[in-house]
């Protein structure tokens, strides 16, 4: 993937953190087009922080971020949305008191009038029948898995080229995890590039094309998902053993 002639996203030696605490210590990797790339790594490796760095939510102390070859280092969320990036953070990120439909419409709030968004909202509801069933319910009444689907659907309203999705499986039942992952595979088929962070490394890698292993804010391993899955060093890295890397 590093050899991908035109990756959609490139992190080039990115460093940064919160306040005086540095979390990313030179994070470099590229994300291939129309593929699922999964970032794994032990706790505190800086996986989520990496996403925040891309989405302009972190003060970077060094490095560059390229989207489609354009430097977007430090760009604001609004600019990134316009450039075709959407970010589905970890946890619950719906607007609980608003209806499912209203939540979806807000996915396009930065782009156009409510009227212009309506067909896109309908298209999203067609894509997720479970959401259509509950379209008028308050979003807080959806199950955890349905809320995650809603977040993904909301992200799609802006027709992104790249979706950053952080720990989509956390707190979901195995059945729901399957559904969420199947949704991501469907997105890939329609040409969306996906960069995912997952705790559940094995099942995430199984649906991914590429894998990236981070540890203490650095890129430790990159390769095809298969190769990462089969690499015995990965497990040891997770459990804190010293690993010799090439």
């Amino acid at each position: 993937m590093a050899t991908d002639p035109s990756p959609i996203l490139v992190l080039d030696n990115v460093t940064g953190g919160y306040g005086r605490m540095t979390i990313l210590n030179g994070c470099s990797f590229a994300v291939a087009r129309a593929a699922i790339t999964t970032v794994i790594g032990p706790n505190g490796a800086g996986k989520s922080t990496c996403f925040k760095a891309v989405f302009g939510l972190l003060r970077l102390t060094g490095g560059r971020i390229l989207l489609d070859g354009t430097d977007v280092t430090g760009a604001a969320p609004r600019a990134l949305i316009a450039a075709g990036v959407c970010y589905v953070p970890q946890g619950r990120n719906i607007f609980p008191e608003l209806s499912v439909r209203d939540n979806l419409e807000l996915g396009g709030v930065a782009l156009g009038s409510a009227g212009a968004m309506r067909p896109k909202v309908e298209a999203a509801l067609d894509r997720f029948p479970i959401l259509r069933q509950r379209a008028s319910s308050q979003a807080s009444t959806l199950s955890g898995g349905q809320q995650k689907l809603l977040e993904i659907a909301r992200g799609l309203i802006a027709a992104p080229k790249l979706m950053l999705i952080d720990e989509p499986s956390i707190g979901l039942s195995p059945l729901m995890v399957k559904e969420v992952f199947a949704t991501l595979q469907g997105l890939r088929a329609s040409g969306v590039s996906i960069l995912m962070v997952e705790q559940n490394a094995r099942s995430a890698l199984e649906i991914s094309d590429f894998g990236i292993v981070l540890e203490t804010g650095r890129t430790r391993l990159t390769g095809t998902a298969r190769a990462i899955l089969d690499d015995p060093r990965v497990a040891r890295l997770f459990l804190g053993a010293d690993v010799e890397l090439d």
């Binding site: 032990p42 706790n43 956390i170 997952e198 490394a201 995430a204 997770f238 459990l239 804190g240 053993a241």
Partner: protein, 247 residues
């Protein structure tokens, strides 16, 4: 011999989510037990159940063989259980020494006697000793809020020892502490374990720290204990590796 701490078939559910789903283990006198497990495996919920922050849905917590299930944190503390928190929890406006005195004062005499007694509840010497042990003497009179992250972390841990606890539960003691400090921090904890004879339970993500500090490790995954044994054995356990990588 009666274990210092025993959890018997602990459960804690949040709605439909079984965060802790039948956990049993024992901690013997003087042990340093590490608790590891992937994110969201139920470690923190387990800790909160052990410490009275949460009432378990089912199961029993025994301290020296006595049922202490759901006992309030302050009461548990007076029975010799102290803890640290995952996020820094010192009292920022108090000086480091005052933080330590506070950590010990409720164990000295009756409340009324404390009101009319000495302002330091007679704990200045003990606090100074603790400052020395954790190498914090030079910052004794500074407000805790102004200390570096590592110093606050040390102070936080030192506070847990002020009342001469029988059992100390440490929640991610190494989190955010830099490597240089980590080694000496581990030595402090070891010393407290041997000298003060306190029993430890430690949740920690930093595997090196766990492996080098603990005498025994249990691994929690999906609310259950999936491995229990010597640190190296747990680290190489196939189920543990499986749990960390997901299925």
């Amino acid at each position: 011999m009666t274990p210092v701490l025993e959890a018997r078939d602990l459960h804690r559910h949040f709605g439909g989510v079984r965060a802790v789903n039948g956990v049993s283990f024992q901690v013997g006198e003087g042990e340093i037990l590490g608790v590891i497990g992937p994110n969201g495996s139920g470690k923190s919920t387990l800790f909160n159940c052990l410490l009275g922050q949460l009432v378990p849905s089912a199961g029993t917590v025994l301290l020296d063989g006595q049922d202490v299930t759901g006992m309030a944190p302050a009461v548990l503390n007076r029975r010799g259980v102290s803890r640290t928190f995952q996020l820094l929890q010192v009292f920022p406006q108090l000086s480091a020494r005052e933080n330590l005195i506070l950590a010990g004062q409720e164990h000295v005499g009756s409340r009324l006697a404390r009101l009319f007694g000495r302002p330091d509840a007679g704990l200045t010497a003990a606090a100074n000793r603790m400052l020395e042990l954790f190498q914090l003497t030079h910052i004794a009179d500074l407000a805790a809020g102004g200390l570096s992250y590592g110093q606050q972390k040390l102070l936080d841990a030192a506070m847990a020892f002020m009342a001469g606890p029988r059992l100390v539960l440490l929640d991610e003691p190494a989190g955010g502490v830099n490597l240089t400090l980590l080694g000496s921090f581990r030595e402090r904890l070891r010393a407290m374990n041997t000298e003060a004879g306190a029993t430890f339970v430690v949740i920690e993500h930093n595997m090196d720290f766990v492996m080098s500090l603990c005498t025994r490790v249990i691994c929690i995954a999906e609310g259950k204990v999936i491995a229990d044994g010597a640190p190296e054995a747990v680290r190489n356990n196939a189920d543990v590796i499986e749990a960390y990588l997901g299925h």
